[in-house]
Amino acid sequence: MSTTYQHSVLIGNDNVNCNNVANYRDNTFNLNNIIADENPEIMKWLSPLDPRGRHHDVRTDRIDGVGNWLLETNEFRKWRSYEGGADRAVLFCSGNPGVGKTYLR
């Protein structure tokens, strides 16, 4: 069980291939459950928060194709590929967040 989680976090080690990434992306909740099943006390002791569950919710609501421009910027590409070394280790996207949900009246 824990091996599955290992593959979800570490991309590309030993026998891991890209399929495991897809596996992770489609099964965030399941994988969280696996962690909880395996080490519930330790995980709860580290933190009661569940960031992967939140990620699952956000990505489920995301509209495809929106915001992709960021991934093409030089700033992001360099950050992602470790250009600039430790001096360029932090990338901050600055913007005003949404202020409400969709609703009709």
């Binding site: 091996t3 891991v16 960031p51 929106v66 967040p97």
Partner: protein, 238 residues
């Protein structure tokens, strides 16, 4: 409809048949974060990459303490087949103590440093930093900075409102800033999807639908979200 004096004077009168829609029109920073996280997960498989994420949320400020946030990041990095030994040892030690006492932030940060330094590449993504409780923001940034200093393989991605930029720059010299604002393509894509999923699609004519797709993206590109919301309300009512 009774309006408060001085408010909404430029908004056309609303008939009983009018539809009023308010849509959040920008690719929010949370969307950007989830996109980045998924892009990292989809990346090249030639090397070991670990990814940890956290979404700050003002609705959960009570639980989102510095210690809990650092712990939430840590628990995404400690399982390598089984939980890392140094974390297991710390847990066993804590359990033996009276009341099985919780972790202190310095202990948590120390464990995070140990976990991160054993990985060749680690991406830590923190969304909506401005929603981190103010009393915990400095502690979080300092904890991450200290972790980064000892881990050349670590990268940190933040999103947040512009007002936290100074806090970030103070702790992370050389940090790269990318402004996020609604782009024409993003707004077009968003509107297309919203119109497609509209539960009252019969209430809108094809002409109005076409106008929305034609006019709104050009008008609101680069605006802040609040302005965008007002504008779309007016146009749909017109």
């Amino acid at each position: 409809m009774q309006r408060e004096s001085g408010s909404g004077e430029n908004i056309p009168k609303v008939s009983s048949r009018s539809i009023w829609k308010k849509w959040e029109l920008s690719p929010t920073v949370s969307n950007i974060s989830s996109l980045v996280i998924d892009d990292l997960c989809d990346g090249p498989c030639s090397e070991e990459i670990a990814i940890a994420m956290f979404y700050c949320d003002f609705r959960d400020q009570r639980e989102q303490t510095t210690t809990n946030i650092v712990g939430a990041i840590l628990k995404q990095l400690v399982v390598r087949g089984e939980v890392l030994e140094h974390v297991q040892e710390a847990f066993k030690k804590a359990k033996k103590e009276v009341g099985s006492r919780g972790l202190r932030l310095p202990d948590m940060v120390q464990m995070l440093k140990q976990a991160v330094t054993t990985l060749p590449r680690v991406f830590i993504c923190i969304d909506a930093l401005d929603e981190c409780p103010p009393q915990h923001l400095s502690g979080l940034l300092v904890s991450l900075r200290d972790t980064l200093h000892e881990s050349p393989g670590a990268r940190i991605f933040f999103t947040g409102r512009p007002q936290v930029q100074a806090e970030i720059e103070k702790r992370f010299t050389g940090s790269v800033i990318v402004p996020i604002s609604p782009k024409v393509h993003d707004i077009e894509r968003y509107l297309e999807k919203k119109l497609e999923m509209d539960t009252e699609s019969d209430a809108m004519s094809d002409a109005l639908r076409a106008d929305i797709l034609r006019v709104i993206p050009q008008r609101i590109s680069g605006m802040c979200v609040v302005e965008s919301l007002v504008l779309i309300s007016c146009i749909i009512l017109d």
